[in-house]
Amino acid sequence: MLNWFSSVVRLINGEQEIGRSRGFWICAFAVAVGLIVLPRFVSAYALLNYSYIISMVFLALGLCLIWGFAGILSLGQAGYAYGVVGINLSQSGTTYLALIAGLMVPTLFAAVLSYVMFYARVKGVYVAIMMLVVTLLFETFLNQTAGPQWHIGVASLGGNNGLGRFSGAIHEPPSITLGLGSRLIEFSGQSVAFYYLEVGLLIAIYLCLRALVNSRFGLILAAIREDGARVESFGYDVRAIQLVVFCLGAALAALSGILYVSWGNFITPSVFGVTNNILPVIWVAVGGRKSLTATVISTVVLTWLSQRFAIQGEYAFVVMGALLVVVMMLRPEGLITSFGGRKTSASPPLSPGSSHDGR
């Protein structure tokens, strides 16, 4: 038992991730405790806001996994969140069915897409462009679903207005409701319960992903990012591994979408738009795409900052865009990973052959 536990700890604390010192874990523990006691000290509005920020972290983690660890940049990541139309499936009682559908539909869709792409050896920037095409297709399609003939069950798709109280749909997407029999808990977006649900998921998923990137699978991912052909020649099926990681990224995006929808009880096709899909790229690139920890920190900080700048006027996107440009020029590996973490090689990202230093 103890043996098993220590091997899990070793996995979580492996070399593929920054923040491995005793000091880091003390800080992380303090942050976790801080998150747990937070609702006692802040207003209900602020808590609602933090719930929103946390729901975005899952989206960023999904992109970090596929871009930073597997080297696949997807330009349509936010779009997966819309798979959540499935959440309307159940109209009463628990939302287990809706949760499963909301997670499975985007993941299966990602599986089909990545089968089409990776098994044809499409790679690099072409994957990014194909994802852009798919995202455009969805935006175009969903924007014209305003009529009553477009519906899933009783939930009408609502075209441009999306799902929710602003559209013609009378049925809003429900909040997450879990429980057995008559003992139900409704995690409505404004509630403290919803916040705790998110914090719990965040801690669990962060630790699981840390273990994942340090597992055999994670090491192969990093190897594919550095030199796919070489990994292939060692006998690994690169296509299958890319497919799996792409699905994982989609599932995380879908989780983010589910949380977002049950937080605000609405969603519109604008998640397929340019702006919504560049924001995750900014969060991940600015923090450091090769680190889950950096991604979490930069997503929280940048989302919070965006809101501050949005209050000041319309400067949020200017600041975010400028930040991305400056970071890409000066610290292409990201701010947090290049200042705080292990040393990364200074070689340009697209020159393999110069970066085989056994990382």
């Binding site: 044809a120 990014a128 095409v133 455009l136 175009t140 975010m320």
Partner: protein, 294 residues
């Protein structure tokens, strides 16, 4: 029958000019320098804004449109010197950095200039065939699209710049060693691409409202055209890609409706990238070589 045939042909030509004009600047930058310029739409916006300002200052359109192209070229060269030259040959990094630039510029223009600017009147009027009315201006754009493509081909084929640019594209280190000022070639090439983006923006501004997201209406289709065309031969890729994507779009638009036409074009682009990721130009080259050998 005749009028239906003309309608199909008109749709086809219209779609070709849209794809060619919006993609040509992007194609040059992608093909020559390996930079995916996501800020393409904002360069188009600079062209559109300038044209509107110059036109309402009282100057005629044949001055206002070149002014738009020149402003975009100047803006593009500034961007190239400051930022983009650090990202040559790095496809993914250049994509990410120019995407950030696009977000920054679009929102910056919105704050500085405001949500809309006076729209321009569409010149030349219309004519009718078989009861349907068509715009002379669309025909004019088609002619311009063909002329621009021809001019690019001639520029790359016959001028000193063209030879040096093609050499730089094939092998920058060797070209540099042989005395080509590759840095200057890159700057001029980016300026040329930006000028063509500005030209497209100016031309489209004559029949669409100008707003900060103006360019974003054209950027995605421009990308699709470029990637479907491929970078091994800029002109051949551009023509092949515009012809094939437009054919799909025109047929589906006349058979069903505009939406289905657009969706069909996107789907066919997806399928083409899936099967020939290096683009139509390389595919055609291989086919031609095979034919020649047999």
């Amino acid at each position: 029958m005749l009028s239906e045939g003309f309608s199909l042909f008109y749709q086809y030509a219209d779609s070709i000019s849209l794809l060619m004009l919006s993609a040509v600047g992007l194609m040059i930058i992608f093909g020559m320098m390996g930079v995916i310029n996501m800020a393409h739409g904002e360069l188009m916006l600079v062209g559109a804004y300038t044209t509107s300002v110059v036109f309402y200052a009282g100057l005629p359109l044949f001055v206002a449109i070149p002014a738009g192209a020149s402003a975009a070229a100047a803006f593009g060269i500034v961007l190239e010197r400051l930022i983009i030259r650090r990202f040559y040959g790095q496809l993914l990094s250049s994509l990410v950095v120019t995407w950030g630039l696009s977000l920054l510029l679009a929102q910056g223009f919105l704050i500085i200039i405001g949500p809309s600017i006076r729209s321009l009147p569409t010149p030349f009027g219309s004519f009718s065939v078989g009861g349907f009315s068509y715009s002379y201006y669309r025909v004019f754009m088609f002619v311009i699209a063909l002329a621009v493509t021809l001019a690019i081909w001639a520029l790359l084929r016959f001028t000193k710049y063209g030879v040096e640019a093609r050499a730089t594209m094939e092998n920058p280190a060797m070209a540099h060693a042989l005395g080509v000022n590759t840095d200057r070639i890159y700057m001029v090439t980016f300026g040329l691409g930006a000028a063509l983006a500005g030209l497209a923006g100016s031309l489209f501004a004559l029949e669409a409202p100008i707003e900060p997201t103006f360019g974003r209406n054209y950027t995605p289709i421009a990308f699709i055209t470029v990637v479907v065309g491929g970078s091994s031969d800029i002109v051949a890729g551009l023509i092949a890609s515009a012809l094939s994507l437009s054919a799909v779009r025109a047929i589906f638009t006349t058979q069903f409706n505009i939406l289905i036409g657009y969706v069909a074009m996107l789907v066919s682009a997806f399928v083409l990238i899936r099967f020939i990721p290096n683009g139509l130009s390389e595919f055609l080259e291989t086919v031609l070589n095979r034919l020649r050998r047999s």
